[in-house]
């Protein structure tokens, strides 16, 4: 039997080579057939937290093909595999002067982690972890049906970012702290998407979001807040849920859920899409229906 299994293992060599070659050839042919040119650049190679970076692209499709270009600011932590800790994605807008030139401005969050190697000391104990933190701007050129035609990634350094900790307990504190920093940003982004997931943002939901923005950022100007809501609708903010579950205390996750549920309830009964969104939020935060029952009762005024 070992002979047959060895034969199967050997079959993997040509199969892998064939599949790899075919995939590379397919992507190359698709790229050549759909795009005449695609060049990407970023405005800086070293940033401080809070700095802005401009992502630029020159994408010339073939024929009258419609494409969209997206830029995503991503923080990836590598141990032996990659974990995307943070990703803020924005659609790039074509320049009025040249429709093939795209640009978008991305802001490195204040809580950005420092790039580089952490841990991996020979004296590390079982409570330590090693990691390589990198920041990139990832570009995607998509066809009208969403097919990704071209990907590119440009790295930059964040030498003055927050220093990640290697000790697990300290890492937990950092994660909680990071989550506290990111929370408002993430909460508002999720709330906007929750409000929009049942179709349109109702007036009650919009009022809730306005109040929240006033409380969080002191924004009182109506057009400004509406512009911010539109901006959040265009971007999706994601944080690695494994990271969240591992390090963020339950109280913080419950508080996050309370804000989501309050908004969902602000226009009356829950829409099916809202129920799904809330259900998935529970999974992301590893909360159960039992955990959030008191919160839901408190928000709706029903007895527990």
């Amino acid at each position: 039997m070992a002979v047959y299994l060895f034969g199967l293992a050997l079959c993997l060599i040509p199969l892998t080579l064939l599949a790899g070659t075919l995939q590379a050839a397919f992507e190359l042919v698709r790229r050549v057939a759909t795009l005449r040119a695609a060049r990407f650049s970023i405005s800086a190679t070293s940033l401080r937290p809070g700095d802005r970076i401009e992502a630029r692209a020159r994408v010339v499709p073939r024929g009258g093909r419609q494409v969209t270009v997206h830029a995503r600011l991503t923080c990836t932590m590598f141990d032996h595999r990659s974990h995307r800790l943070y990703a803020s994605s924005l659609a790039m807008l074509p320049s009025p002067a040249d429709r093939h030139q795209y640009a978008v401005s991305l802001t490195l969050p204040e809580y950005a982690l420092r790039t580089g190697l952490v841990g991996d000391s020979p004296h590390a104990d079982g409570n330590s972890r090693r990691m390589l933190v990198v920041w990139t701007v990832d570009f995607q050129v998509r066809a009208a049906d969403g097919t990704v035609l071209r990907r590119a990634s440009q790295g930059f350094e964040v030498p003055r970012g927050r220093r990640p900790k290697t000790h697990l307990r300290r890492m937990s504190l950092l994660a909680i702290d990071t989550f506290s920093s990111i929370r408002n940003d993430m909460l508002f982004n999720w709330l906007v998407h929750l409000a929009a997931c049942d179709g349109a943002i109702t007036s009650a939901e919009r009022r809730f979001l306005h109040d929240l923005l006033e409380e969080m950022a002191g924004m009182t100007d109506g057009p400004d807040t509406d512009a911010r809501i539109e901006q959040e609708l265009r971007r999706r903010l994601i944080i690695d849920d494994v990271f969240l579950r591992r390090y963020v205390p339950m109280e913080a996750r419950l508080e996050f859920y309370r804000a989501l549920y309050t908004l969902a309830r602000s226009d009356g009964a829950l829409h099916q899409r809202e129920v799904e969104f809330l259900g998935e939020s529970l999974k992301v935060f590893k909360l159960t229906a039992e955990d959030v029952k008191p919160i839901e009762a408190e928000v709706t005024g029903a007895p527990v």
């Binding site: 002979v3 993997l12 990659s82 390589l132």
Partner: protein, 403 residues
């Protein structure tokens, strides 16, 4: 009796056990009368042997590459990790599809299943107790640990009594740390007494480490898993390298005694001579042993190895019943969610080196390059290296020493 008091007593018991006897191991205990064959086939890294060895090293490199670049990515895709993925999957109705769960299982993913937890507990219980039954069978049949190590006469009788006592100790499940020490001593004794044939008993090391690292109240800890991997992985690797390449007459003898074992594969691979059959079987065992040791595709590898051992029982019958023992070990690895592989640390360091070499810029291409480097290095050092040593270096070294 306190644990510390048990250790000297256990050492004394093992010392009595260490009486050398005539070596007859694994392929050694089923009929293996061999006809003349080309011994030089196994003594030179040229021609078919070189091609097959390179192919085996390439297969290891490809499997490792597939593991890091395809399997882990696929596993992450199958395991919902963000709101978007989960919502999309819920819409498609695929979030809990049994086929996806099966794929996650065979890609060594974690599945929150009570059934799996029970299966793991049962397999751990069986693996912890099964050596007791094997030892009782040995005491009854007249061998120590495995049929490879027969005993006879008065010393043999004494050892069989001791074996029965150890069997009862194993079955009782008491003082497992001391039992681990005894098992290590037993294996050392087999090495001293039986020389190269002790390769057959390497799975005993899996039990030794399992007992040695056991902690009260914990079903299975990472040290135990590493110990089982080491014992079974290295054991299987050496079974191929030693019993089928270095001592090729053993396995070719089995093939000559049971011709169907050779003619069956020859229908699929017409180029397979008796020598090539022994060599490719060895490469198969080494490949899967190495993968088990490294923790790559842990569940699939455990399943493949359990099938190989199960096949022995089907082909040779009762004579191979002791193989239920390693099968129990494979069952433990099969049901246990793998926390990582032995190459993870090496891959991290390789990635960091490449990242530094490229001026602290990163991309997934660099990560892929690091994976490729690690895969090739592993195939070369852990597969081709030992083969080259046994086929090319050792015969010449021994020949030189004989002169």
């Amino acid at each position: 009796m306190r644990r510390s008091e048990w250790r000297p007593a256990a050492a004394a018991l093992a010392a009595i056990w260490l009486v050398p006897a005539v070596a007859q191991a694994h392929e050694r205990w089923v009929r293996h009368d061999y006809k003349p064959f080309d011994r030089d086939y196994f003594r030179s890294m040229t021609g078919q042997v070189l091609r097959l060895s390179l192919a085996a090293a390439c297969a290891i490199a490809v499997i490792i590459t597939l593991w890091y670049l395809v399997a882990t990515v696929l596993l992450e895709r199958l395991t919902p990790t963000s709101v978007e993925q989960q919502v999309e999957q819920a819409h498609r109705g695929s979030a809990h599809h049994p086929l996806l769960s099966l794929m996650r299982f065979f890609l060594d993913g974690y599945l929150p299943s009570r059934w799996l937890v029970h299966a793991e507990r049962i397999s751990v219980f069986i693996f912890a107790r099964l050596p007791g039954l094997v030892f009782l069978l040995g005491a009854y049949d007249g061998w120590v640990v495995m049929p490879s190590f027969p005993v006879s006469g008065t010393p043999g009788l004494v050892m069989r009594v001791i074996e029965a006592a150890v069997a009862l100790w194993v079955l009782s499940g008491l003082f497992q740390v001391a039992l681990g020490v005894v098992m290590l001593l037993v294996y050392t004794g087999l090495c001293v007494g039986y020389g190269l044939a002790a390769v057959d008993a390497i799975p005993v090391l899996a039990s030794a480490f399992f007992y040695l690292f056991s902690r009260r109240g914990i079903t299975l800890n990472p040290q135990q898993i590493a110990g089982i991997r080491f014992g079974l992985g290295v054991g299987f690797f050496l079974l191929g390298l030693v019993n089928k390449i270095y001592d090729a007459q053993l396995f070719i003898g089995v093939g000559d005694s049971y011709p169907n074992l050779v003619t069956g594969p020859q229908h699929v691979f017409p180029w397979l001579t008796r020598e090539a059959w022994s060599f490719t079987t060895a490469l198969g065992e080494m490949t899967f042993g190495l993968l088990l040791l490294l923790g790559i595709f842990s569940r699939l590898t455990s399943l493949a190895l359990a099938l190989i051992f199960g096949n022995f029982i089907l082909v040779f019958g009762w004579a191979e019943i002791v193989h239920l023992y390693p099968i129990a070990g494979f069952a433990v690895l099969f049901f246990h969610a793998s926390p990582g592989t032995a190459l993870d640390g090496m891959l991290f360091r390789a990635h960091v080196r490449v990242w530094r070499a490229m001026g602290y810029r990163t991309s997934f291409l660099l990560y892929r390059a690091a994976v490729f480097l690690v895969a090739v290095a592993t195939g070369a050092l852990l597969m081709f290296g030992p083969l080259y040593l046994i086929v090319q270096v050792v015969p010449r070294l021994l020949g030189h020493l004989d002169r």
